[in-house]
Amino acid sequence: MAILVYAEHDNAHLKSETSKMINAAGQMGGDIHVLVAGENCQAIAEDAAKIAGVQKVIVADAAAYKDQLAENIADLVLEVGEGYSHILAAATTTGKNFMPRVAALLDVAQISDIIAVESGDTFVRPIYAGNAIATVQSEDNVKVITVRASAFDASAEQDAAPVEASGSVIESAKSEFVSQELTESERPELTAADVIISGGRGMQNGDNFALLNGIADKLGAAIGASRAAVDAGFVPNDMQVGQTGKIVAPQLYIAVGISGAIQHLAGMKDSKVIVAINKDEEAPIFQVADYGLVGDLFEVLPELESSL
C-alpha cells in the first residue's frame, strides 16, 4: 500500500496544503509519495521532500503542466498513480478541477473534501454546507480523495527524501490555456492566514474595503469577503469565503458587515475565535461569534485600527 499525494503549488512556492495533506495521508497508513507537476518546479519538489513522512517525490516538469489544466494533469496522475491505494489532492480549485477526472477514469468514486481520517477506508466529510457531517466507507480498490487542508495540521520537517523525475509529458489537444488574472497581494493567503478580516455587503462599496487594510496590516491578516460583496463587485472572486468559496479556519476571524448566512458560516465557523461587527443585533453571525460588537462599522473600524 502506498499513497500518492498531489502537491499544491503555484510554480514558485509549495503551498501549505501539501504538508497538511501529508498529515492526513499519514493517518491512512502506507508509504507516502508526492507528485509535483508544473514547470521549473524542481525547487518545489525539494521542499516537498523535506516534509516529514514523505518517502519519495516524483517530479513531472513540463510546460504542459504549468497551468494545471485538468485534461493534462488527470492523465499524468493516472499514469504516475498506477498501483497506489490512495490518491490525494487538496480541495482547492486545482484539486477539485482534475481529481474527479482521475476518479472517473479509474471507475471509482471520489470522496470530496474530507475533514478527518478514521482509517484507511473510512473518512469524515461535511455535507449540506457543513450542517451535517457524514462518515463514509469506501470499498473501491483505489481511494480518490480531496482533502480540506484547513482541517489538518501541517506535518513536521525531515531530512530530504529522494526526488526522482517522471519523463511523462501529456498534452491534450482539446484544451488550451489562454490567460490568467491573478490577484496580487502582499498579505498572507486566505487559506494560510492566522488572522482574517472579512467584509460583507455592509461595507457598501469597494473603496470602503480600505477601512480593513490598516487593521489587516497591524494584525498580519488576510482580507476576505462574503458572496454579496463579491457579487456586487466590491472585491474579486478569490476573496469569497464560504460553502462555495474558500474554507478557512484561522486563529481569529473578524466578520464585518456580514449577516451570517449558512453559506458564509460554512466557510469560517471552524475558526478558533470569531468576532462579529454588525449594526443589527439580531444578525445570525452573532450566534457563532465569541465576541460580538453591535455598532456601525464606519465608526468601529477606525477606532479598532487606532487601538491595536
Binding site: E71, T92, K96, N97, S138, L293, L304, L308
Partner: protein
Amino acid sequence: MKVLVPVKRVIDYNVKVRVNAENTAVDLTNTKMSINPFCEIAVEEAVRLKEKGTATEVVVVSIGDKSCQEQIRTALALGADRGIQIDTDVNLDSLQVAKLLAKVVEEEEPGLVILGKQSIDSDNNQTGQMLAALCGLPQGTFASEVAIEGDAVSVTREVDGGLQTVKLALPAIVTTDLRLNEPRYASLPNIMKAKRKPLAVKSAADFGVALESKVKVLKVTPPAERQGGIKVADVAELVDKLKTEAKVI
C-alpha cells in the same frame, strides 16, 4: 448547436438542515425542495445562448424519482425546450450520475453541456469533471464567463488565485460558478407554457449502468455546536478580550 443541461433537485438553500434521529441522513420530510442554484445558473446560460442564436435547442435532464420532474418543469419555464427524466429511486454517487449522463450525451450529441459546479446537498463538485472524462471531452469548470468562438468555447474560470481563461474545442463541458449570470424569474405565461413542453421519462435501469455505489454512509451527525459567545460593549473591551482572554492578538 444543442445545449444539454443536467439539473438536480435539492433541498432549498434557505432551509435549515436537520439530521434525522437515527443519524443516518438529513431529514427531508416536508422540506422545501428546489432546483440546485448552480443548475439554475446553467439553465439561464443555455437559454441566453439560445436567445443569442448560438444554441438551437436547450435540453434539460434530471436523474431521480418522479418528483424531480418539478425541477425539469422549472427549467422549461426558464426557457429550456424539452426535458428528460431518468427515473430511479436509488441515491446515486456523482460517478453513477456521470455515467448515466454520458449515455445521454452519446444519444443527444450536444455541442455543449453546462452543469452546476456543485450540488448544495452533497457538496461533491464532481459530476461535470467526471462526465468530461468519461466522454473524453475538455472541461471548463467554475465558469464566470462563457463565449462561443466558432468551433471552440472560451471559458473564464474562478480559481483560488483569481481568474483563468481556457479555450476548449467543442463539444465541451462547462460547470457554472455564481458570477456567470443572474437567473431570471419565470413568468406566469412561461410557467403555463412549460407544462406543455415535452418531457420524456426513461428508466435508469435501461441504460446498462451499474447503479450501486461502493461508498457506504456509515453515519450522518450534526456538526459540533459552537459555544455561544458574549457581546462586548465597545472597541476597548473587544481589544482587551482578544488580548487577555482569547490571546489571539
